[in-house]
Symmetry: C2
Subunit: 204 residues, 2 copies
């Protein structure tokens, strides 16, 4: 993964809020300072000195891991692909749809195509956006961009060194049930499977 | 908000992964060291020195903002409550269901009851769990715990100093449509409204 700055990283010495534009008039917050508190190639934590809505002074820390993309890859039999891996922050194994980080100024759909190829070696003819959702807006501007991919052709996956992936196919309806039962817990996966199910089965 | 350590914060000097237990045999990661890289009363960033699944050395940073709780508060006319506020990390106004942070070892349902009372002054007779989902598992163990609250009685809200909240009621079906259209983008809100809709309208 290339070293890069995320989209809400601060300009050192600036007093701009996340995103780098002045506080808009509609904001009840006022930004007095900004610094990078922590940075790795994968995540930036920016610390803003603020006047809060009630007029008191404080800090607001914003995490920027970059945006996420997630792909519901549906075959001609209406089965979707799931990848399973041991998730280090959770310290447990989990099944999820192919997903990853949007790099730099990469378009979300291009990132989704790249992740599907890297993780499963799959190329898809037909791409459809299923929506964008904010994952944890109290601490981050990280969004997940969801896609439905159809017309699948399978080649060889090329996972990153940090990834030891298992892969399987399950019926869309079964995956939807697994989301309801909490057997799939990853929010981007659940949101994508819900949106795909709503599109194809009604309810959306 | 009280100063407290989150549930995945490291023990200084330990070489334990997130959660504080030894790397399980099923994990392809090996943890060699751990330090707190950044901490505020609201968030902890822990940096783990690891051997990756491919055998290379590196670091893995894990953010701990504590778990989230979110409440779909449904009245006798099947309208739900939404709260609107300017979200500092996003730098825009957003509508979402009442939600907040689970404090310390507070039970998720107790946290949900507290948030509903603080943000809207509402007490509910009937609470039902709607599931738990991991919001951004590549960087955090943060989960959202979703609840359906019914049998509502309204009193006076007591928001925190950082909160300038607007409130409104919308029909559950209208809120569900707003989630599909991306007018509600907050993942815990969307997951909660989807689960409530599936429970009451079928599809779940």
């Amino acid at each position: 993964m290339a070293q890069e700055e995320g989209h809400t990283a601060v300009t050192p010495g600036s007093a701009r809020p996340p995103g780098g534009q002045p506080d808009p008039p509609a904001s009840p917050w006022r930004t007095r300072g900004a610094r990078v508190a922590y940075r790795t190639p994968w995540i930036t934590v920016s610390e803003y000195t603020v006047m809060r809505p009630d007029g008191s002074s404080g800090i607001y820390s914003v995490v920027d891991p970059g945006d996420n993309v997630a792909v519901v890859a549906l075959d001609a039999s209406e089965r979707i692909w799931l990848v399973g891996e041991f998730v280090y922050p959770l310290q447990r194994f989990g099944w999820m749809v192919p997903s990853g980080k949007r790099e730099g100024d990469e378009a979300a759909e291009a990132a989704a195509q790249r992740e599907l190829a890297e993780e499963l070696g799959i190329v898809a003819d037909n791409w459809q956006a299923l929506g964008t959702y904010d994952l944890s807006c109290g601490i981050s501007a990280q969004a997940t961009h969801l896609f439905l991919a159809r017309g699948l052709t399978r080649g060889m996956p090329q996972p990153e060194g940090t990834e030891v992936l298992r892969a399987r196919q399950v019926a869309l309806d079964e995956a939807y049930g697994a989301c309801l039962r909490g057997e799939i817990r990853d929010a981007p996966s659940v949101l994508g499977i819900w949106r795909a199910h709503a599109l194809l089965r009604g309810g959306g």
